[in-house]
């Protein structure tokens, strides 16, 4: 297993290199002078020259990249050109709402998807199966921001059960924090739930048709025992992968949901920094999100290898 982990990380290195090149090049994709674009047409020449020097824009491209990468490897993602705050500090400050939202939406999605997928597969063709399948199809097609609009209208404005926007830190008022988290977590978790439910259903159906399940039934085991003790364990292995991949989707979705619900998280930070043309901040946050996504994929791969004894990693 140790060798597999090392090999898997080594395979990631060229990908990480290319990811760093893509993120570095973002600032150079801007049409015209990046410094002018960031500071605006009215900026004075001294400020422009200072920014060019600070970002190293007056040096050749490979040198700029080497300097930038050197800083990144030392954990220095630069400073915001608007607030002068270190990018790592800004990310650290905005992390709690995003982590909370992502975890809550994962709980929502698994809480809906696993029971729905299991019921759907074990009672194939039943009313519950049809409801779950149609629900999944609708869920995949529903934009999270439209679902948010509907839920805010019904549950915040009409029934007044939840606040329409805003975030209370849990260390200030936990109950209020959780109340404010319900709608964003449902909006973000719904699409993921639809995907995971579909996969759980198909995976369980496949396992239920296998010989060892037939043998378990032939031995006279109760159906609930067959499903819980034999089928479910194997059926959920591919589900682990898709749940891991959903983390990327959730991070992307969090950008929209945080902006919509005014949650002061990483997603809102990236959108705000794009509008303020604060490129060091945009670069830093995008790099951070890509690393989180890559890290999750690595963890899922390792977990998959650990969970499934049929996979040889020698």
């Amino acid at each position: 297993m140790g060798g597999y982990v090392i090999r898997r990380i080594l395979v990631m290195l060229p990908v990480l290199f290319l990811v760093s090149v893509i993120i570095f090049m973002l600032i150079h994709l801007t049409p015209g002078d990046p410094a002018l674009m960031m500071l605006g047409e009215e900026a004075n020449p001294q400020a422009l020259a200072a920014l060019r020097q600070e970002l190293g824009l007056d040096q050749p491209l490979p040198v700029q990249y080497a300097v930038w990468l050197g800083r990144v490897l030392r954990g220095d993602l630069g400073r915001s050109i608007r607030t002068n705050q270190p990018v790592t500090e800004a990310i650290g400050q905005r992390l709690p709402p995003t982590v909370e939202l992502t975890l809550a939406s994962l709980i929502v999605s698994l809480g809906i998807a696993l029971p729905a997928g299991i019921v759907s597969a074990t009672r194939r063709g039943s009313r519950a199966d049809i409801v779950s399948t149609v629900g999944s199809l609708l869920g995949v097609s529903m934009p999270n921001f439209f679902l948010a609009v509907l839920l805010i209208f019904i549950f915040a404005y009409k029934l007044r059960w939840f606040p329409p926007i805003g975030w209370t830190p849990p260390w200030e008022n936990l109950a209020e924090n959780l109340r404010g988290l319900v709608l964003p977590a449902i909006c973000l978790g719904a699409a993921a739930a639809a995907v995971v439910a579909r996969l759980t259903r198909s995976s369980l159906l496949e396992v239920l048709g296998q010989d060892y399940v037939r043998t378990a039934r032939a031995k006279g085991l109760r159906e609930s025992k067959v499903i819980q003790g034999h089928a479910l364990k194997n059926a959920l292995i591919p589900v682990v992968t898709i749940v891991g991949l959903q983390v990327g989707t959730l991070l992307g979705g969090a950008i929209i949901i945080e902006s919509l619900f005014s949650l002061p998280g990483i997603g809102k930070l990236v959108v705000d920094s794009i509008f303020q043309r604060d490129f060091p901040l945009v670069q830093g946050v995008v790099l951070f999100l890509a690393l989180v996504f890559l890290g999750t994929s690595l963890l899922v791969d390792l977990l998959y290898a650990y969970l499934d004894p049929r996979i040889h990693y020698g």
Partner: protein, 307 residues
Amino acid sequence: MDSPIGESVPKTSVAAPSVLTAAPRPRETSGLRAFGRRFMRARLAWVGLLIIVAFALMAIFAPSLAPYDPNKQSLTQLLQPPNAQHWLGTDELGRDILSRILYGARVSLSVGIISVGIALVIGVVLGLISGYFGGWTDTLIGRGTDALLAFPALVLALAITSALGPSLTNAMLAIGVVGIPIYVRLTRGQVLALKEREFVEGARVAGASSPRIIFRHILPNVTSPIIVQASLGVAFAVLAEAGLSFLGLGVQPPTASWGSMINTGKNYLEMDPWVAIVPGIAIFLTVLGFNFLGDGIRDALDPHLKL
């Protein structure tokens, strides 16, 4: 927003040809007929196709169908609920929502189709080259694909749009780039399976050049899964464009876009919910249509793959 491009890669089977020949693999009429029969039975796919055709007609004939100029403001008609003059009501500037929905269909469908076109052409060509030539070319393209897949789809689209500047064209480009990797992987996988087959060997022995083998003999046999992916890809592109426009990074005002209509409409949600809800329904139906169609084609192509 979900990323359907990362899922639903269809497992389409490609039947082996019976004779060693340099000619393109003959189409299997019985297979096509079976596909046709299965597709005819796929009710949801037909519902999907119907929805898509309806929206396509709305987009094409928007100038004739729209009762008002979609950008014409009216200070006396602000935030009117649906009524006889304005069937879907008016927005905060007194613009007719029905007219804006009809014109918005043009934006959504054109972004969907063009960005999928960009992703498909670049992705399929790279996948063909990667799978056929192997070696360093394959490694290089593979690593590039991995790097693009290292970003959550919407984050990458957002990053590209932020660098290029918010506009319809840049949104199309960004969504197109995000879609490339799935077509590369899909095509490469198919090519790897096909390139050792007799009809490709036969073409090689007969002296056909690599480009001829790739485009004339291999490409026609990888189209089925690509069609399925393209249909699901349009659904993703419509969602992504709406997401970008919702954030203010896609289509710029005053051009009507369903995403930006929801964005402004959410500010009037408490008293005038139709402003945000109507464009939301339009996005939902369009995406549903393409998902139904994609699912239907996939099931018809491979009846064993039931998701």
